[in-house]
Every structure is written in structure tokens, then in C-alpha cells.
């Protein structure tokens, strides 16, 4: 690579090529943005409750134990499909009740079992959180996860 590839040629290929790939990437990102809002997450309305639920999810840093759509920590179960696993995806009231019962029962205190903390969450917040999880579960994730175990 001595004569043909001089330093300045290598540099120019680097600059030119990088700009090309940035442009392609930006275009695909714009298309993906549209796909997400119009198709992938159109299964359920992005309501105020869902928005609020996302903030509750973030405030308690749930992502640092659980995965959500496979991203996060690996210490606790996947929650992107938890409403499917519980069989309450289309039943908001039951979803709320299951979630509330689960959260109130924590920490289990069982010796040798991983502990989920107790969180101070109001009823309104708990309803929002359960709507958020139902909303996330409706996302078109290209059929991931492979099964309900998550």
C-alpha cells in the first residue's frame, strides 16, 4: 500500500466515505422515525397515562435490573412482554390489579432469592405504569422475543 495509497489519499477517502455513510444513515434514521410512529407503535394510543407511566418507569430506574425489549440489565425478567405473559394485554383493569399486587408484595424477603425493592407509587402512577407496559407490549418488535418467557 505504499505508492498507490499515499497519506493524503487515505485521508480523503476517509473524509469522503464518512460523509457518504453519515448521509445514508441520517436518511434511514428519518425513515425509521416515521416507521416507528406510523406503524410499529400505532397499535395503541400514546396517551397521557402512557407518557406518565414512562416517567414513573424512569424515576425508579427499573432498567437497571430489568430488560425492556431486550435492553437494560440482566438481573431480572424481560418486561417488554410481561402483559402478554400475564395474559392481560387487552384488559387495562386486570393489568393494573396484577401489577399493583406484584409491586406491593415486594421485596419478597425470601432468603437466597433476588430481591425487587419496594417503591412508593400512588394509585394514579401505578395505573400509568401499567398502561405504559401495555403500550410497550403492543410494539411491532419483528416478533421478538422468541417466546413468552421473554
Amino acid at each position: 500500500m505504499s505508492e498507490l495509497l499515499t497519506k493524503s489519499r487515505a485521508r480523503n477517502v476517509f473524509y469522503g466515505g464518512s460523509i457518504f455513510f453519515v448521509v445514508v444513515f441520517v436518511a434511514l434514521t428519518a425513515d425509521s422515525h416515521r416507521h416507528i410512529t406510523r406503524t410499529a407503535t400505532s397499535g395503541m394510543e400514546l396517551s397521557d397515562a402512557v407518557r406518565h407511566g414512562k416517567h414513573v418507569w424512569e424515576r425508579h430506574s427499573c432498567i437497571n435490573c430489568h430488560t425492556l425489549h431486550g435492553e437494560g440489565a440482566y438481573f431480572a425478567p424481560e418486561v417488554g412482554n410481561v402483559m402478554t405473559r400475564w395474559g392481560v394485554l387487552d384488559e387495562p383493569e386486570m393489568a393494573y390489579e396484577m401489577l399493583d399486587a406484584w409491586m406491593q408484595a415486594q421485596p419478597s424477603g425470601i432468603e437466597g432469592r433476588r430481591q425487587m425493592p419496594h417503591f412508593e407509587i400512588t394509585e394514579e402512577e401505578m395505573r400509568a405504569l401499567s398502561e405504559f407496559l401495555r403500550w410497550a407490549d403492543q410494539t411491532d418488535t419483528q416478533n421478538w422475543p422468541p417466546n413468552d418467557a421473554g
Binding site: T6, S32, T41, C62, H69, Y74, P146
Partner: protein, 447 residues
Amino acid sequence: MKYQSQQVAYAYFVAAMALFGIQVLGGLLLGWIYVSPNTLSEILPFNIVRMIHTNALIVWLLLGFFGAAYYLVPEESEREIFSVRLAYFQLAILVVGTLGAVGSYLVGIHGGREFLEQPLWVKFGILVAAVIFLVNVSLTFLAGRKTAITNILLMGLWLLCLLWVFAFINPDNLSLDKMYWWMVVHLWVEATWELVMAAILGFLMLKLTGVDREVIEKWLYVIVATALFSGILGTGHHFYWIGTPGYWQWIGSVFSTLEVVPFFAMMSFAFVMVWKGRKNHPNKAALLWSLGSSTVAFFGAGVWGFLHTLHGVNFYTHGTQITAAHGHLAFYGAYVALNLAMFTYAMPILRGREPYNQVLNMASFWLMTGGMAFMTFTLTFAGTIQTHMQRIVGDYYMQVQDELGLFYMMRFGSGVAVVLGALLFIYSMLVVRREVVKPGPVAVPGE
């Protein structure tokens, strides 16, 4: 040391090493919670410790990069840093921000996007520090000699600071949130940080091997070209299952596979330069870390990255202990070891202790690298079993985890080795004053 202002790097490196200590102690605690889950569960739950572990990692690596820039930019530009006071001010902001973030995590105040949990004021602090930094090094760079090393280094640093803007963008739509989140996370470690890595590695090779600058700089442009050509579209390997379009499965698989190329090139580069170099630099520890970094980066990022990057494989391994195995070895090889290489090279000079072979430091290399490799193996075995039981058989998550206890115990053991290695490294950098082992007589060829 050729320029007085390079001394700034010393403060950055010390702060970075302190955080490195906190990071691995946090990791050890996490590893212990996996083994004995009731530990501290009411006062210091897993998620809080994990935020400290990952945030400390990122901040200390950045502190190391900033310090490295303050060390090498004057030498390459052949002039003093534009403003030493600004450099210290920048460090003060970062240290206050870091302490503030750790303090607020401990009392339960934090965001909830992985790695970006810092309270808003800390995020702004980081932004301000980044701007100060860019102004300071860019003015130094513009006024002095321009080399490919500083050119690539500054380009990487500018772009990574610009990408920080995405840390402030948090759409209500979870899938959009995830897509833009990767613009910080992936485009940092698999694009812009690679430029920084290549530049620092190039600088170290220049100093340690004495190979001609022209040769080194041409290699550098080829390396960073392959890094960005593959890494930008390679972001697609995170867009398989989060609500993004299906075409990413092919784009992501093809381009992220090509991401192996720059890591292979950096490893080859380091070995070829050492082979070609005539210089017998006394700092053998810096050479060991440089070669070790590029090699482990190839395995951690290249081999372990490829292991789960094809969409047909990732469908099953996504979000399992396989990901944790890869994350650890990749970060360790590419960025931890590279920073430690730079510290190892620069600290004896900054402390006026040349020439210096650093035997204890080399021992810490083997202890830490051995520990991280073992950790990666145990997590890979755990992840393989997890993938099979959970994703193929369909067993419930917690049931599967109960079967993996042995691997988590071994991971904790390897964590102990890593912590001991890290402490030994810090001790050898900051405390040891003289060579521990006397050099033997020089052999005469032919005898």
C-alpha cells in the same frame, strides 16, 4: 516532559484512577449480589449499584481521554496548551458533577435511561466541560503544528461531544427513545471513541517503537476509515427488535460484521509497528498495555461482538448474559486497557521518574487481563445455557437463573482478581518510587 502545561494530565489521570477504583469495587458488589441476593437489598439495591458501576466507568474513561489529549496535543502541536486554568476548571466541573451524581444516586434521585441516568444539572455540567475542553484543545491545535494524530484525535473528541446532545433527547415514544439512545451509546464506542483509540495508539507507537511518522499516520487514516464506514451503519445491529423497520436486520448484520475490520487492523498495526521499530524503549509496561489493549479489543469487540451480531443469532441471545460478557471484554480491551497504557507511558514522565520498567505494573496487567478473560468465559457459558433454556425451551427467567449459580460464583472470583489487579496498578502508579526488580546483565549477541 517537553511542555510545562502537559502537567495538567497528571490531575486528570489521578481523578480517573480514583473513579476506576470505585467502578471495580461497585462491580465486585454487583457480582456478590448475584451470588448472595439479600446483600444490602433494602438500603442499596442492585439498580443503584449498577448505575454507579457503569457511570463511573464512562466518566473515568472520558477523564482519561481528556488527560491524554492534554498530554499529547502540546507535544504534537509543539506549543503549550492554550489555557492551563481552563483545563483545571474543566476538571473541577467534572469532579463536582461526578460526586453530585453518585450522591444523588445514593439518595434515589436519577434518570431512568441506561448509562444516561445523571440528573439534568450534571448533564449540563458535562456539556459545559466538553465545550471548555474543545475550545481549549482546538485553539492549541490551530495555533501549532498539525499532525494526523491530533487531527484524528480532535475529530473523534469533537464528534463524541456533539453526540452528547442526544443525552438530552428523550422522546415519549419508547421506540424513538431507544433509537436515539443508541446515537450516544453505539456511536460512541463503535465510531467516535475508535478514532480516539486509534490516535492514542498511534501516539504510543510513535513514542515507543520509533517507527517513521509517515508510516504510522497512513495506517491511522486507513484504520479510522474502516471504523466509520462500518460503525455508522453498524448501529443497525441494535435496531433489530425495538420497533425499527425490518431492513435493519440485513444492514445491521452486514455492516456490524465489518466492524471487526478496524479492530483487527489496530491489533495488526500495533504488532507490525513493534516488529518494525528499532527503538528499545525502557518503558516495557507501556508497550505491554498497548499490545494487550489492541489484542483484547480485537477479541472483546471483534470476536465476542461478531458472536451475537448476526440477526439470526441475536434473535436468541439479545439481552442475555452473552451481552454482558461482550460488554465487559470489549470495554476492557478497547478503552480501559488503552487508558491504562497511556497512564503507564505518561505517569513516569509526569512524575519525573524515567527511565522506568515497572514490573509491578506488568504484574497488574496479567492479573487484570486474566480476571477479565475468565469473567468473559464464565458469562459466555452462563449466557449460552440461558439462551438455550429461556429462548429455545421457553423456561421462565427466574427458574433459568437458579441454574446458573456456579457461573456467577466463578464470575465473582474473577472479579476479585480484577479488583486486586486494579489496586496493584494504582499503587504502582502513585506510590512505587524505584524499580522493584534490578535489570540483569545485558547479553552480548553470539555468546
